[in-house]
């Protein structure tokens, strides 16, 4: 099933989340993490496959994967930078494909494999891309780092030997505001090199 914007909106409507958000100027808070009050907002117990583990979790129909990961599964490494699929800070892999988890409804990924930054080094050893970023000291404030790394890992699974330009395209759905993109790319290229060796 593709996780298109259209499906996302359909999922939200099905979940009844729009009932309360009238969208009055400056008041539209975004229907996040509601529990008791929203009309039709009923939690449902799901089993998710996150970082290789089966996780049982109560989720709302309109709940996004980013919120489930961050606020219900304790996986705060996935960051929220914009809430609107603009910045990529919340990127995770779903069946090895990078997705903006702020724009994926949790109930749509029940039978999928979800991988977050915490799961990359689950065995204790750093993933080659993490090692590349560490060795080359990629990123500064690093708030965007988890999203970039997940996007790079997803891209490199399919394109193991990219040029700098190709890898830049591979992570171009992610924004950094410290903006030393030069060193970010160098560190991810180092990660690509380590990945090819393993």
């Amino acid at each position: 099933m593709s996780l298109s914007r259209r499906n996302f909106i359909k999922g939200v409507i099905a979940g009844g989340a729009v009932a309360s958000s009238a969208g009055y100027l400056f008041r539209s808070a975004g229907p996040l993490l509601g529990q008791s009050s929203a009309a039709g907002a009923v939690e449902r117990l799901l089993t998710l496959n996150v970082n290789g583990q089966a996780r049982r979790v109560d989720v709302l129909k309109q709940e996004t994967l980013a919120m489930t990961l961050r606020y219900k599964l304790g996986l705060a490494g996935t960051k929220l930078g914009c809430d609107r699929a603009e910045c990529g800070a919340c990127t995770v892999l779903i069946d090895d494909v990078p997705h903006y988890s702020c724009s994926v409804l949790t109930h749509t990924v029940r039978s999928r494999r979800i991988l977050t930054i915490e799961g990359l080094s689950a065995g204790g050893d750093l993933h080659p891309v993490q090692q590349g970023v560490l060795d080359e000291q990629g990123f500064q404030c690093a708030f965007c780092l988890p999203g970039f790394v997940m996007a790079a890992v997803g891209y490199l699974k399919v394109h193991p030997n990219p040029s700098r330009e190709e890898l830049a395209h591979g992570v171009s759905g992610n924004l950094c505001r410290c903006q030393d993109y030069d060193k970010i790319l160098t560190s991810l290229m180092r990660g690509a090199e380590y990945m090819r060796r393993t």
Partner: protein, 814 residues
């Protein structure tokens, strides 16, 4: 300062947590029973709250508390977290705490707010018109700063009302900035004689845009209270300096604030001393008697986050035939937003006098308030705007006089202890501690291959034409007089307390490398303690204005020298002779004449504890800040303590410089600009951490590129509402907008006025790249195609199509 660690790259100790996702930023913390808050933002740009009815909201299940401006301490007219008189659309009026965000948002919907609309203005020039509206009920512009007080905090400037005459606006139609009566002004040299002697005089107006800071991490915060003390997880650039601000915003004593901020997701000046909005979860938590999380969305950040002051500037410059500037007359209308006052306009005047070294100059300005999102210093506040206003004139003059663009900047650049700014009360003008701009220009021109590249610019290849540009970005780069605390403990390790915020520049850690080098402690035995005011931090500079590396390497130099002296004294006391006969090195203090005779640092630490007094931190220097005193007292007894204030002298004001070189390709059929290459060279003193330094230069340059090409603020003048409320509407630079490889270097020439030689670097690259990219566009398509930034495709295309500038000449926020 030579050493084993200074000048070498290393992997900072916080990086592993970053790459594994374990680094916790403010919104990553949780607490039992944590509530969520949502804000009610003003839909009007200026209004007064006549009536609030929250009864329906408070009756909802799950709603726990409501906070209004009436619950906040008075801050003597300064901006507060909530207001009853919103001064911009998006200003928070109240906050609701509820069991979850959706309930809080629903509660906000149920609150009835009766707002009385008040006059507003979004364009600073409109406020100066004879019948123009004022942004605030009691004025429209900030007066000049009062003279510095002998004691206490500096007095706030007065709010004034300035209106210019219709005659002042006569030149507006021609796109020239009206120049009515300014509120601030200075001059030096003989301006009239300078212009009279000039072979060429140019007079141009330029509009520098406002842009939101938009760090990746918004100003989210989580707070709770324990036993009367506030625990707050917040995002700040400056941990030590933020504690007092939060205390003031919340209305409690600083000693009752426990601020935890180990990781900050960027700030760029918008979180210099924290964020005033952090008072909301703090006070709501006290009211609701439960922890409160305030998640700030990107849209909310676009209002309550900060933005750069925009300026419309007009400059008249006289040039001798050979290119040397003879006189400069600069007038700035600054939009300081609804609060402030910001001082970017003053920094811009100082920067202009510094990097172009006019022998005679006048600076005039008016600092106007508008009902647009609030401003704070943004990475190179002032000098970057000066680059925008003045660079087009320099570029045009070089063209008309037939002088190379690097040559005209080189001949006008500062050197050594170059003077800048107005004549001070002492009768002298200020000067910089050092400047090696000419060397940096030469090095950059060689790296960039300036001459060879210049031969292939300006010629069309199909629809594409290339251009090259250069600019000098200056910025103040260092403060003095801060404190340091470090301890050598019986485990033989050196613990360095760091009150710097951890926003990714690594200065929070770098400063300890100086102490480790001076004491010759291997890096594996150094522990940097940071990110939590409960960990006993020293009085530390705010990490703004590129001052940290300079200010805190000096402080830690002083602290390490104090520790070394104490090691020598203890050795002399135990082993005989005088302290001066002892050396430190190899984790030992030993007799110079007999190196076998000595103490290890671990032994000396135990002796310091036994001796007590000043050796282990019980007796402290008189001149340290009370915060340092309290922290040192808490650490007393743990080992040999180095504690000192930076009392080193300094002759001049510390400035850094970065030279930017850019090549662009412009498609004259679409107006699209592609950045082909960017090279930057820094004159930033001794290099402490090469890899981080180059990241700062390249990252700062990229912010300048984004200002030149994309980013802006757009405010609807009719409704006074900001329209750039998402990333999408003010496009930040992406990885595809920069060349796939960039080159940067630093001269690594020590500043002679600081013991470590290091100056700051964060800011000067911004104006360097901003100016260089715009100059390169001018080189490609003509220097009269644009007089505002960003230089978007439509600006270029419209001008080329019509053969003259078509963009709105003076209006701001378009």
């Amino acid at each position: 300062m030579p050493g084993n660690l200074i000048g070498r790259s290393y992997i900072p100790p916080d990086h592993l947590a970053k790459v594994t996702g374990r680094a916790r930023y403010a919104e990553d913390f949780r607490a039992d029973g944590m509530l969520f808050t949502k804000l009610l933002l003003s839909p009007m740009p200026h209004a007064r709250v006549r009536r609030l009815d929250a009864s329906a909201a408070l009756a909802m299940p799950g709603v726990r508390a409501i906070l209004t401006a009436d619950d906040l301490p008075d801050l003597d007219g300064a901006e507060r977290a909530l207001t009853n008189e919103p001064l911009y659309a998006g200003e928070p009026i109240l906050a609701v705490a509820a069991v979850d965000e959706l309930t809080a948002a629903d509660a906000i919907e149920k609150i009835v707010v009766d707002l009385e609309p008040l006059p507003f203005v979004t364009n600073a020039l409109d406020s100066l018109r004879p019948d123009g509206p004022n942004a605030r009920l009691n004025g429209n512009a900030w007066g000049p700063p009062p003279p510095p007080a002998a004691q206490g905090p500096p007095a706030r400037p007065s709010l004034e009302t300035v209106k210019w005459t219709a005659g002042d606006f006569a030149e507006e139609e021609q796109g020239r900035l009206p120049m009515g009566t300014p509120l601030e002004e200075w001059a030096y040299g003989d301006l009239d004689a300078g212009f009279a002697a000039a072979a060429l005089v140019l007079d141009e107006t330029f509009v520098v845009q406002s842009t939101g800071h938009h760090p990746m991490e918004t100003r989210s915060a989580m707070a709770y209270w324990q036993n009367g003390r506030l625990f707050i997880h917040a995002s700040t650039q400056s941990v030590a300096q933020t504690r007092g601000n939060i205390a003031r915003w919340v209305g409690i004593d600083p000693s009752q604030v426990m601020l935890i901020s180990e990781y900050t997701g960027g700030g760029f000046g918008s979180k210099g001393g924290g964020a005033v909005s952090s008072a909301i979860p703090a006070l709501l938590s006290r009211k609701a008697n439960a922890p409160v999380m305030m998640r700030i969305t990107r849209e909310e950040e676009s209002y309550i986050g900060r933005a750069r002051t925009n300026m419309t500037g007009r400059v008249k410059v006289g040039f001798a035939q050979g290119g040397r500037i003879t006189a400069m007359d600069l007038f700035i209308v600054q939009d300081t937003g609804p609060y402030g006052p910001l001082g970017d306009h003053r920094s811009a005047g100082n920067a202009a006098s510094l990097i172009y070294q006019p022998p005679a100059m006048r600076w005039r300005a008016v600092n106007v308030l508008t009902n647009t999102p609030p401003r704070s210093q943004q990475r190179s506040p002032g000098p970057m705007q000066a680059n925008g206003i003045i660079e087009p004139v320099i570029t045009k003059a070089a063209r008309q006089l037939g002088i190379d663009q690097v040559a005209i900047r080189r001949m006008n650049s500062p050197e050594g202890k170059a003077p800048f700014g107005p004549v001070l009360p002492s009768g002298q003008r200020n000067h910089v501690t050092s400047a090696f701009v000419k060397q940096a220009l030469d090095r950059g021109a060689a790296l960039f291959n300036w001459e060879a590249r210049g031969r292939r610019t300006g010629q069309r290849q199909g629809s594409k034409v290339r251009g090259i540009g250069v600019a000098v970005g200056p910025h103040g780069a260092g403060s003095i007089g801060w404190d340091s605390i470090m301890t050598i403990r019986p485990d033989g390790r050196l613990y360095v307390q760091s009150g710097v915020g951890n926003l990714g520049t690594h200065s929070v850690i770098d400063l300890a490398r100086v102490a480790a080098d001076l004491l010759d402690v291997p890096w594996e035995k150094v522990e940097v303690v940071w990110g939590d005011t409960g960990k006993h931090l020293p009085w530390t500079c705010p990490s703004v204005g590129s001052q940290t590396t300079h200010g805190m390497t000096r402080a830690n130099h002083a602290g390490a020298m104090d520790a070394r002296r104490k090691l020598q004294e203890i050795a002399a006391r135990d082993l005989g002779g005088s302290p001066d006969e002892y050396e430190t090195g190899g984790e030992r203090v030993y007799r110079r004449s007999n190196p076998a005779r000595g103490l290890t640092y671990a032994q000396a630490a135990r002796r310091a504890i036994a001796l007590g007094g000043r050796y282990y931190g019980h007796e402290l220097p008189d001149d340290i800040n009370p915060m340092t005193r309290a922290s040192a007292t808490s650490l007393a007894g743990l080992g040999l303590m180095g504690v000192a204030k930076d009392n080193y002298g300094r002759n001049g004001a510390t400035y850094s410089f970065v030279i930017g070189f850019a090549e662009v390709e412009v498609d004259v059929e679409t107006g699209a600009v592609t950045l082909v290459d960017l090279v930057a060279v820094g004159d930033v003193g001794t290099v402490i951490n090469p890899r981080s330094l180059l990241a700062q230069i390249k990252g700062g340059c990229c912010l300048g590129v984004a200002h030149a090409l994309f980013q802006k603020s757009v405010v609807d003048p009719r409704y006074g509402v900001s329209l750039t409320d998402r990333f999408h509407y003010s496009k930040p630079l992406s990885i595809l907008d920069v060349p796939s490889a960039m080159q940067a270097e630093a001269l690594n020439l020590a500043d002679p006025e600081t013991p470590v030689g290091a100056r700051g670097v964060g800011e000067p690259p911004v104006g360097a790249a901003y100016g260089a990219v715009m100059n390169a566009i001018a080189d490609a398509v003509g220097e009269d195609v644009f007089r505002r930034a960003p230089v978007t495709a439509d600006v270029i295309l419209m001008s080329l199509e019509h053969g003259r500038r078509m963009h709105e000449p003076l209006r701001m926020h378009v």
